[in-house]
Assembly symmetry: D2
Homo-oligomer: 363 residues x 4
């Protein structure tokens, strides 16, 4: 099976290649790159020397010869390729934000400043989070592959919202990403002397993943579920850690009267946490890539590095009012390309884990 | 003026030396180290070669020959030295947690597992946060120098609490520290292959800085002010970034009805934020080390690196319900040794900035 | 096929597991750990949760149930296990230095301070560098898996020595390793605040890899070939970069009379370099893991990260007297565990690349 | 005294400001920036907020109001400013390569591709390495401040060459620099995901510091002294480590007949090294910024970080033929701005250490 990648020379393009080279069902690649057309992928990325030798073509050629197309493009430029694929019946997995908002063009336009060209494609598109939408993905022609932050956030909050654990105060998602998250394009914030040995938030209150997370949270909760989301840039190559604060509904709280913290949290906290954890374990029991961590372990980005896992650890604040969920993913894998391949596997009826068995390189 | 440092070979000890070598009022050092007694500081830390040649003595000798003593010891071992200084009228600045709880022995015992030996010393001790307690520090004989996380957190929330901006829901302090925060002692979490290129929380809900932050927050607010505090370990040498979520009291909110985030935040948000920022600027107008950042800038650890500054940036969440304060400090300077020297300057009637003029090395 | 790993909880043990979990011929693991016997590997390394659940046993049990045994032990403790395997006809691949010196007990004793217990095992042992010893490895019962630095160094110098390019002045190998090279054991030099953002040499002139490199260089050259080897510790997790200076024999030089460097090197240099490069390419033409890089590229550790590749780039100094070879490997893969698996593949008659197809994660 | 900085918004410009803000003789700044003229330095670099508020002017204005001018410009653009200063009698310290080649226009042109516009200025210029040229610097009108690599290399080899320790084979300088070395300009090699966790050489055999090092080596040796210089990029913010191989003249060798390294180096090596070390100590006895390290310590970049020190450690290879000198500097301080200020101090007759007393921040 030949797969196509449009936008093959961006970071998500080259990560797709890295992962797909180990996928047993893929027999060949057809690659497009607007910026390097005419060159060859292993010339642009010499770490691929000896592993692949593939010319960089026009997107139209790629579509013509592929059984499935991944679009690893900036937001706003792929709609035409989606249409070509859609009309030819070729599954199209879009890693940009273009197809994440379904028929809600209003929100897409307000946050991204562009309108839909082919609204019908968006109505047909499925939000490609397998843990939420597996059965729709199976028959999808167009997948809006989730954003990296929304993946980590949603996987952390989904069971709590689905089980009614959260009361209606805002969920707070405090997250940090490695620098590959901003891709191959040079920028002051990705300049090594600025990014190394530093930590800072960015786009507080205005990041475009806010409406995406909010939409999915509402689906999970079955009601409006306001979120506060603060992204940070951390001196990592890969990884997103999301520390999520979920104010608990009354019956899930374990309220202490000691709001001055005269004492460390006691055994009642641990007991309540156990009940919550059981819900998370049950919710994700059959998920191949979600690991609800055992007691005493906190999710860490290095334990999922270069893998498709999402690790989740559960904690209660000292006073028992708020569930603290920590989720860790590799932003390039479960946060982008691994998830896209998981979606491809579902579409093709393969075992979801096919080609995604990489063991995290914890050091 | 000769100053003494007990525990001179720990990271806070050697950072005190680094800073004090540039202090114009200090003419000499008297150093104690239990682990390296008989050796000399520049043998233990050869980056000090040519700058200082000081034998490592017993603590009692140091106390006998110093005009002021810094105790850079683990929590629980310095009380006897405090007594010696107290009885001799020598100011004693303790960088451990021992003197941060005043006469509240109950909380100290519950979280640290130890009791006070000399309760009278604790009644006399002053919590050494100049921005809060300057006038008491001036006459203090014993200073409990604040913890690193509590410094960053408190400076971020103090104006909001003092001005009644916060309603009574818990304040959430999501913070990350560089690895020097855990000091010189070897540990698995500080082992380079574990700490590099990774991000993870630790001690969620049970960290000992929770009661310290809570106590001070209550002082600032004039009422109980429950806090949720989550520390993370980040791959930095230095720096603490605190991202603080303060649910706003009604009159400070700028509530949007668009809880589904169909639109990015509008101009009303910016207007409300301006009013809040003005309060912060007024509150800190005369503080030499607090910088409330201009609009559009977010606090970052690299802009305060190796300096005594605390940078604060102010943001509103997209829906206008929650103030997001970001504070950045160098955990070894404003979070420990710089603040201790600031306290020393106050005690000695010096300009607070004396010896603390280092420009941040932003790269 | 069940393989055994003795010393499974050290860094090389756990890296063997990471790689072997993707090896199609391996059906099971039998693991031994002296330090964690009775526990289970995924408890000690929770990044393995969901991938393997294997109890940690005694070494003798492991030997009894394995088709091949990897010993990932400190130098000096594995000889007894080697004997057990040898007598049972089970191939034994030793990742320590114990079996790298063959019957030259004198050198081993002088540098490692220990004597051989079973000299016959050492006479039977083969130095496991496939590019040098493939045909002997095929029938070996005991493999002395090469050291990390010796692998990078030897692969860089082998063609030059074999083709008589070097004159008899010392070869200079200036190399730097990531911190995983010193393993899981805590040490001051691996403490994050010491290792991060710093670069320094260590054990200059006395590192134990000097005799190992020298022995193999002599084999390659067919004469004594003195080497100068300087290791450095670099703030990387993984990777060894070796910059190797080979003084060229007369007929390979391209001597410029401009020893004051009044002019940049001219086209004669490039021409000579082309001839040298052709030799390297021919020498390694059939090697699956050696990549002689195209003109204009210098070897870099990130292009081989997490893979079994050794990248080699060739350069001439400005005056044309000295060949500068740069080799890059992942110290944990080609420098240790990947090479051990390559040896296993050879012993079992498998394609050498089996299980070693990982694409470098260049970011 | 008001000093001027032309090119104030580049990394060397802003590092000059950082250091000069602590210089007691400097009463004011006059700053020029072509790229940010009309703005103010603390707007471009907000870590300077509260420390300086200085408009960015035209270079000509700066020259008109300064007692001394630092030019922190790219190579090739400062000659006109040098002329203006020279004609007005204002000392001009140039941090680019423009004035490092004196009247040797031929070499400058061959390596930099430009010709001199005012040859007389170059004849008047002094190469600003205080340890070599202190007495000429005192009366200089134009200083060519040394390159970062040449500083570390020259300080490492100067005593050996001056004392005739080296025989006439090429000196090999294997050096690595932190990423600030390539300045503020964005580039693929400074992009965090490329630079982090990687190590690689660049411009092997063709780096422009080759002729600069060679020129100074010849001055030190009193004869042609060919050098081989290989720069590497290391994942550090700051620091240059140079590992230098000096083939020893006969009478300085301690030749072992054990070229197969059957034994570790013995006491004769240590004895010979002691004699060499004594020469280095004597040579640098009165130098305020050179530290010849005690036995057993190797130079490391973190021990000189943010300081003007150059640390030097001395080693012999195992066979006693080659002196291995390791020098460590902070590329932004002793490798650029600290050295420029040291030159300013000499010109103004100040103590050389004035304003340069910063203690290295070893962590």
């Amino acid at each position: 099976m030949v797969v196509g990648i449009i936008g093959a020379t961006g970071y998500t393009g080259v990560e797709l290649i890295r992962l797909l080279l180990g996928h047993p069902a893929i027999t060949g690649f057809s690659l497009a790159s607007a910026s390097h057309e005419g060159s060859s992928i292993e010339q642009v990325y010499p770490h691929l020397l000896g592993l692949i030798a593939a010319p960089l073509k026009k997107a139209e050629e790629v579509i013509a010869e592929s059984a499935l197309v991944f679009a690893a493009l900036p937001t706003g430029v792929g709609e035409e390729y989606a249409r070509l694929c859609f009309e030819s019946g070729i599954p199209y997995i879009d890693l940009s934000a273009d197809f994440r908002f379904g028929s809600d063009e209003q929100t897409y336009e307000a946050w991204y400043g562009m309108r839909y060209r082919y609204p019908n494609l968006h109505s047909a598109a499925v939000y490609g989070l397998p843990e939420l939408n597996r059965k729709h993905i199976r028959h999808a022609k167009i997948i809006g592959n989730p954003g990296c932050y929304p993946t980590g956030a949603t996987l952390g909050i989904m069971p709590a919202l689905a089980q009614g654990m959260a009361h209606d105060a805002p969920l707070i998602i405090d997250a940090a990403s490695g620098v590959t998250g901003s891709g191959r394009e040079l920028s002051a914030s990705s300049h090594y002397p600025q990014a190394a040995d530093s930590l800072a938030p960015y786009k507080v209150g205005v990041h475009r993943h806010i409406p995406e997370i909010s939409r999915i949270a509402a689906v999970c909760a079955g009601r409006a579920a306001p979120v506060i989301f603060t992204p940070h840039l951390a001196p990592l190559n890969r990884g997103i850690l999301s520390t999520i604060y979920i104010p608990l509904a009354k019956n899930w709280q374990s309220l202490s009267s000691d709001t001055a913290f005269r004492f460390p949290p006691g055994p009642l906290i641990a007991e309540k946490l156990g009940a919550i954890k059981k819900q998370y374990e049950d919710f994700y029991r059959h998920e191949p890539f979600i690991r609800v961590l055992p007691d005493g372990l906190a999710a860490a980005t290095n334990r999922v590095r270069a893998s498709n896992f999402c690790d989740i650890s559960l904690h209660l604040d000292s006073a028992g009012s708020t569930l603290i969920v920590v989720s860790a993913i590799d932003n390039m894998v479960k946060g982008a390309c691994g998830q896209a391949i998981q979606n491809m596997n579902i579409i093709f009826g393969l075992d979801e884990k096919t080609g995604l068995g990489a063991v995290p390189s914890s050091f």
